[in-house]
């Protein structure tokens, strides 16, 4: 039995960013920039989504030589379906955090 808890606002922001390019692999820092989430908020959400099979991750060699490989993420099929259900139709700029960290 799985508890159906509404995703948090931060999770919705992340799902929205990931579902805009569902087949593309995205970097953690890139997602942080798009969503405005700090690393301490972003990564626990990524972990939980991975644990639930909604997100897949892999290591990708860095483009620049001498840099370490990077972790990349994208939604699984289940994750895409979950995001479609979770993100309201009128989602968009309304939930994006303002520069001071507050939500509009």
């Amino acid at each position: 039995m799985e508890r159906n808890r509404r995703p948090s606002l931060h999770t919705l922001l992340l799902l929205e960013a990931l579902s805009k390019r569902p087949r593309a692999w995205q970097y953690g820092y890139e997602l942080s920039q798009i969503t405005g989430l700090q690393s301490g908020t972003l990564y626990p959400i990524l972990m939980r989504l991975c644990d639930r099979g909604l997100l897949e991750s892999q290591w990708k060699a860095a483009v620049q030589p001498g840099r370490p490989p990077r972790h990349v993420y994208r939604l699984t099929t289940a994750g895409t379906a979950f995001a479609r259900r979770a993100i309201p139709a009128d989602a968009g700029s309304q939930r994006r955090p303002a520069p001071d960290g507050e939500f509009a």
């Binding site: 799985e2 953690g28 690393s39 301490g40 990564y43 626990p44």
Partner: protein, 201 residues
């Protein structure tokens, strides 16, 4: 300017190293990912902020891991913990009830003491239920009642000590007033994790 930049990056690297060290085994890869990602953060302040975030993630995951793994204590160890923590209070309950019943102890003194010591036998019953009936967990009302009872135990035993009613030493106070509520808190935590377990999966 250059040295300050290097210092910030060095601090970030140290923080990330500590975060990876402190993280639970199943999250090492994630902390490694955060450490690698910092190489792509353009400015030093953001890199330092990123590294501080990794510390937060590491501690959070460590705490989460520890709280979940406590439910997997072997039954004999949990039984031992409960007997040590709740046994003395259950013994006090039996003695105080018998003495009050026989009239050896005045009611004005016996009733508060018996009610405060009630946590002992109640806690032992809860412990047996937790150990032997793993499929069941206590509900929110029972949790509230047990919490109130534990608070009453602490208050009443503290009052007894302050009044000098018994020749209580600090060891008695730990045995009667501190260990039983802690044991009950542990049992309630185990039960709450059992309730939440389906959502974790």
């Amino acid at each position: 300017m250059r040295s300050r930049k290097t210092a910030a990056r060095a601090a970030a690297a140290l923080l990330l190293k500590h975060a990876a060290w402190a993280s639970p085994r199943n999250r090492k890869q994630w902390l490694q990912a955060m450490a690698h990602e910092v190489e792509h953060v353009p400015d030093d302040a953001s890199a330092l902020w990123w590294a501080l975030g990794s510390i937060f993630v590491s501690y959070l995951e460590r705490a989460d891991n520890m709280s979940r793994s406590s439910t997997s204590l072997p039954p004999w160890l949990l039984c031992l913990e409960m007997v040590v923590c709740l046994g003395p209070l259950a013994w006090l309950f039996t003695g105080a009830l018998a003495m009050t019943g026989r009239g050896v102890m005045p009611l004005s003194f016996g009733i508060p003491l018996v009610s405060a010591a009630l946590l002992g036998p109640v806690g032992l019953v809860l412990a047996l239920r937790t150990v032997f009936f793993k499929g069941r967990s206590v509900g929110p009302i029972t949790t509230i009642i047990l919490t109130l009872l534990a608070a009453w135990t602490v208050l009443e035993c503290t009052e007894q000590v302050l009044q000098g009613a018994f020749l209580w030493s600090w060891r008695d106070y730990v045995l009667m007033a501190l260990l039983p509520p802690l044991a009950v808190a542990h049992l309630l935590q185990i039960n709450s994790q059992r309730r939440a377990a389906p959502a974790i999966a």
